[in-house]
């Protein structure tokens, strides 16, 4: 949507009414106390960010380095593959959404007309 259309929508009475109807509501009395009571039953405090311990050791440094490198490369490939897969999935769902939207549009147009004759199809 262009900014101009967005501005136009801002003076739409329905949008004003929606904002009024959706004003945030307070939870019931004692809500925060209820949360803290459940936390008190938790075994430990909030987990702090942990830093990985430094890898130490001199023995087999070269072998370790090449293992790490191949693991990193495989990981990178996998990460890329996962990104591609997720993007393909996102595009698929978007394509199906658009298809759904246009089918819905068809139904609405057809059903807005009183018994409009539809072209006969010879069957697919």
């Amino acid at each position: 949507m262009s900014d101009d259309r967005h501005d136009d929508m801002e003076i739409d009475p329905l949008e004003r009414q929606l904002r009024a109807a959706l004003k945030p509501r307070d939870p019931p009395e004692g809500f925060a106390a209820g949360v803290m009571a459940r936390i008190a039953a938790e075994p430990a405090g909030p987990r702090r960010a942990r830093h990985s311990p430094a890898v130490a050791g001199w023995v087999g440094f070269g072998l370790a380095a090449s293992v790490v490198l191949s693991v990193l490369l495989a990981h990178q490939w996998q990460v890329r593959r996962i990104e591609q897969g997720r993007e393909a999935r996102r595009q698929l769902l978007e394509a199906l959404r658009v298809t759904d939207e246009k089918l819905d549009l068809t139904y609405r147009v057809v059903n807005a007309q009183p018994r409009a004759a539809l072209p006969q199809h010879s069957g697919a």
């Binding site: 259309r5 978007e94 394509a95 298809t99 246009k102």
Partner: protein, 191 residues
């Protein structure tokens, strides 16, 4: 001079390439232009081309425990491609009808048959749904929708199950619309 002679060549070359592409295309597949110039004018555009490889990749990332993903997985079984071009503009009929008509020209019998033609003169909306049948089996579907500020082409290639496609309604965030004489579902509210 250089520009004029180049332009002189482009149109017949494009027509030749399109006819060659059409001849080589599997049944059900439309040759869709990229619509680059249109995309630049549009306020929103959707350009999706999922060939068999990408469809397969997407299927591997669909979560069967999610209802939306599960519906998608079912629907794309047996499909060979899904292609969408959809453009929204901030003025009425900012897109040239000739470009939409060029795609419609591919949807001619005997390969393609029009299933539905829906026109609303009040809303200036036209939707055509075509199916490509090969020996009685649906091999492709095309939806061409033109609205005042939006036009959309959807091409689904493969053994599309029209019954499953109908089940799309209400699944991808689009509310179910109660259709008269369809025995409207018990889950329709506000009726």
């Amino acid at each position: 001079m250089k520009t004029f002679s180049r332009r002189w060549l482009i149109a017949p070359l494009a027509a030749l390439l399109t006819s060659v592409a059409l001849a080589a295309a599997p049944p059900g597949l439309l040759v869709l232009p990229e619509f680059d110039a249109l995309a630049k004018k549009a306020t929103e555009s959707v350009n999706i081309s999922l060939d068999p490889a990408l469809l397969g990749l997407a299927a591997g990332f669909l979560d069967s425990s999610d209802p939306q993903d599960a519906s998608a997985k079912q629907l794309i079984t047996g499909l060979k491609g899904i292609y969408v071009r959809s453009y929204t503009f901030d003025a009425d009929f900012a897109y040239p009808a000739a470009q939409v008509d060029a795609v419609r020209a591919q949807l001619a019998p005997p390969a393609w048959q029009r299933l539905v033609q829906a026109n609303s003169s009040k809303d200036h909306t036209h939707v055509d749904i075509y199916v490509c049948a090969d020996h009685g089996v649906a091999q492709g579907l095309a939806i061409i929708a033109s609205e005042p500020r939006e036009f959309t082409i959807v091409n689904i290639v493969g053994a599309i199950d029209l019954a499953k496609l109908h089940q799309l309604e209400g699944k991808f965030g689009i509310p179910k619309i109660s259709v008269p004489d369809s025995g409207g579902g018990k889950d329709d509210k506000g009726k």
